[in-house]
């Protein structure tokens, strides 16, 4: 599993806020095209780990590699350009733009066309076509010309992913993509995610164990900033440590750090 096809990895990553250890010697490998799930109780440091990978936080020690290159000291925007892109647990959208405008704009940013101020957006046929295709693939084409803030919550969650896809990522980090979405809808949402290009490598955080076991090929259990155990779903489900620390204590809400 840990061969040349690893697209994103973290080795010996540590991070503390004062005496609070939020990342404790994390070793992590994401092979190309895989769907890995990151689970763990509230406050385990899951979102913090995403922030460390994307560069929104700097690790105290350790290294992060993207496609073999060390990106530990690379600024967040450059990591995005190299294909490491995230979505947010809480909707982080453009409320006053329509989905087609927002996604076309994100495509233009990627293509280096966003500094052009003397030409109308409607002339960028390729960017618009690409945005339209992304929105269609996420079943948002019907609402593409409505203002974002008027969209249903579930549609806004999909737009979170659409914006990330517009950057043409190699690796997608999904921070609770179905946070706040009712159970039946969240399965639909994960069906859409599962249908994304198989070239795309995905790490997702999710609390619903049914969904995790259904959609992940590999599960990483994080507890108090350290990896407790990781492996294929069947192995994790049978692991007594996991049952005790995580599953045994019953389900919990969606809110976490």
């Amino acid at each position: 599993m840990n061969d040349a096809a690893t697209v994103l990895s973290a080795s010996g990553v540590n991070k503390s806020f004062g005496s609070l250890v939020v990342a404790n010697n994390i070793e992590f490998n994401l092979p190309t095209g895989q769907r890995h799930a990151l689970i763990g109780p509230n406050g385990a440091g899951k979102t913090t780990f995403i922030n460390l990978l994307t560069g929104m936080l700097q690790p105290d020690s350790g290294a992060i590699r993207l496609a073999g290159e060390d990106i530990t000291n690379t600024p967040p925007a450059v990591r995005v350009k190299r294909g490491l892109v995230r979505t947010f647990q809480i909707n982080t959208l453009f409320p006053q733009l329509t989905p087609i405008e927002a996604v076309t704009m994100a495509v233009c940013e990627r293509r280096g066309e966003a500094t052009t101020w003397w030409r109308g957006l409607s002339h960028y046929h390729e960017a618009i076509a690409e945005a339209d295709q992304i929105l269609t693939s996420l079943r948002l084409d019907k609402v593409a010309t409505r203002t974002t803030r008027e969209l249903a919550y579930g549609q806004q969650r999909l737009l979170e992913i659409a914006l990330a896809l517009a950057t043409k990522p190699k690796v997608l980090l999904l921070d609770e993509p179905a946070a706040g979405v009712p159970k039946d809808e969240s399965e639909d949402l994960f069906e859409v995610i599962a249908g994304l290009s198989s070239d795309l490598s995905i790490l997702f955080i999710e609390h619903d164990m049914d969904i995790v076991f259904r959609f992940a090929s590999h599960i990483i259990v994080l507890v108090s900033g350290a990896i407790l155990v990781q492996g294929p779903p069947a192995e994790i489900a049978a692991n007594p440590l996991v049952r005790e620390v995580y599953l045994g204590k019953g389900r919990h809400g969606h809110a976490h750090s």
Binding site: F88, M105, D132
Partner: protein
């Protein structure tokens, strides 16, 4: 089938940028005051007062232009400024000083003023745009005050409190002279305002315009899609500063006066009030605000020169309370309600 959908989206985006009938009517109506009264039906003639108010109309056009420049940074990019008069005043003094010491061609003067104000905008943006919220407001306020005091103390150059003396007025294209009725001045101010408006309109409909709106709506997300937020903001700030410089230069050239008032805090506050009255983030809000504000000032200051701002204050409170998107926002809301019912 896959081909049909993008076509529809492109059309939809194009339709957002298309000229509306109301816009064309508005700009044509701006030409009406130039119509001499004798060409009108006789029963209308006694009411035809616009030609006597051409100077006020020029000032409205200039104020609208200044407000448009603020709208680009405030309404579209979400950068609040309480020191925008710095660029207006720099443009005003630049135009005056250029005509006094160098050359009198108005258009060349306008261009130089725009470049100077744009340069100040670009340089100051490196400091200003690091800040947000209250700190940003204070920094812009500070910059405005700094420039106003600098102009005040450099009285050997600016004339200080006595205003700049010796401004010369050249002919536009070497042909059109500024006349005492203010006809040339109005046409000049209107045409320049219209041209700058066209640029602003194009910016708001461009990929860049979409990106600055993205920064206004959610700068964190813009970073997460790899956008160079600071670079975008510096660019729009520079453009807006240059536009404000054009407005200031227009005021100097059309009135042949230039005083410290072009730089003072009141002007920065006024243009913010105008924009909020009219509605931010819609360009025409800047126009509507300028028209209402300048006419109200003209009427109320005749009635009661000392306390005219009382009524502006009342209007501002009413608008912010009942029409948070400004008068134009309120109107378009009413319009869409009527259409739906």
């Amino acid at each position: 089938m896959a081909e049909a959908a993008p076509r529809g989206m492109t059309d939809w985006i194009a339709s957002r940028a298309r000229w509306r009938i109301g816009e064309i009517v508005f700009w044509l109506a701006c030409l009406l005051p130039l119509l001499p009264a004798q060409y009108l039906p006789s029963f209308l003639q006694p009411f035809w007062i616009f030609d006597r108010y051409l100077q006020l109309l020029s000032q409205i056009a200039i104020t609208a232009l200044f407000a448009i420049s603020l709208d680009l940074i405030l309404g579209y990019a979400g950068v609040v400024s309480l020191g925008h008069a710095a660029f207006f005043g720099l443009g005003a003094y630049a135009a005056g000083l250029i005509s006094k010491f160098w050359f009198t061609d108005p258009l060349l003067g306008l261009l130089c003023s725009a470049l100077l104000a744009g340069a100040l905008g670009y340089i100051s943006s490196f400091v200003i745009l690091r800040f947000h919220g209250l700190a940003l407001i204070m920094i812009t306020l500070g910059l405005g005050q700094l420039l106003a005091e600098a102009a005040n103390s450099a009285s050997w150059l600016t004339g200080g409190a006595d205003a700049l003396q010796g401004i010369r007025a050249g002919k536009i294209f070497g042909v059109f002279e500024f006349d005492i009725y203010g006809q040339t001045a109005y046409i000049y101010a209107l045409v320049v305002t219209f041209l700058v408006f066209l640029v602003a309109r194009r910016i708001t409909n461009s990929p860049f315009g979409m990106s600055i709106r993205g920064i206004r709506d959610n700068s964190r997300r813009m970073l997460a899609i790899g956008a160079p937020n600071q670079q975008h903001l510096r660019r729009v700030f520079t453009i807006a500063a240059a536009m404000a410089g054009v407005a200031g230069a227009l005021l100097t050239q059309t009135t042949q006066t230039c005083s410290l008032e072009t730089l003072n805090f009141q002007r920065s506050a006024d243009v913010l009030v105008i924009l909020i009255l009219g509605g931010v983030g819609r360009l025409y809000g800047a126009m509507a605000g300028a028209i209402i504000y300048m006419i109200a000032r003209d009427i109320f200051s005749d009635v009661n020169p000392q306390y005219w701002y009382f009524w502006i204050g009342l209007l501002l409170i009413a608008v912010v309370r009942y029409m948070p998107d400004g008068l134009l926002g309120g109107l378009s809301f009413l319009g869409s309600k009527l259409r739906r019912s």
